[in-house]
Amino acid sequence: MLVIRRKREQTIRIGEDIEITVLEIENGQVKLGINAPREIPVFREEIAATRRSNQGAALSAAALHTLGTYSVPNSPTEPRVSISNSSS
């Protein structure tokens, strides 16, 4: 992995067309500004991972037929709900 140190308002460039600028560093979070051509999708990694996971999870008829053999344990509790402070 190439490692580059940058300060606030400094930029790195990838190829001719992609530009990533450090806008803000605060509380262990860094805010980045990204300029890229429209045809290059830019995602947070967890969104990209969710895309891949969803695409792999689209149900097939063969998989559906295996469901009857699952014995799902009971769980009576509802999940707790909290909010994350980080903004996207």
């Binding site: 991972a49 969710t50 769980s75 509790t77 999940p79 994350s84």
Partner: protein, 152 residues
């Protein structure tokens, strides 16, 4: 009543209150914004999400708390906006559903990005966690025995 001919479930007859609106679609399926949430009584506690835009697209899910005791749902401000909620919902106001991946070598569940559906509003979002507390491939150990040698 409206109906849809699906690949997995044949003809599904539904009512408007079974439709869930995902304003942003799901990552990877951004154009699919309306899903039916339905149960198949013969198939146990699974909840199925059938796309209305694409009759071939469906997902099987389980409530996250069935997969991980004391599962804690984390919602971002974006998630709350998608659900049109000004504040956090009470746990029993929402479904928190993990999408299952069923593969021949075993099944797993995505606990890192649960589908959150507000039961009364019928609005949904996929709440992609930004931390690594839960796995996107949480193994399901109570599935069918994996195929042994010589199986068909």
């Amino acid at each position: 009543m409206p109906e849809i001919v699906t690949r997995q479930f044949g003809i599904l007859v539904y009512t408007a209150d079974q439709i869930v609106h995902f304003a942003a679609g799901l990552p990877g399926f951004e154009e699919c914004r309306e899903f039916l949430l339905h149960e198949e009584p013969a198939m146990g506690p699974f909840l199925f999400l059938q796309s209305l835009a694409d009759p071939n697209l469906s997902f099987v899910t389980l409530p996250a708390e069935r997969l991980e005791e004391n599962y804690e749902l984390t919602l971002s401000r974006d998630d709350l906006a998608q659900l049109e909620l000004p504040t956090l919902p009470a746990p029993d106001e929402v479904y928190c559903l993990a999408i299952l991946q069923l593969q021949s070598q075993g099944a797993n569940a995505n606990l890192a990005a649960p589908l959150v559906i507000h039961k009364a509003k019928r609005l949904g979002t996929q709440a992609v966690r930004q931390d690594r507390r839960y796995s996107a491939q949480h193994p399901i150990l109570w599935g069918p025995p994996t195929a042994g040698q010589g199986g068909d």
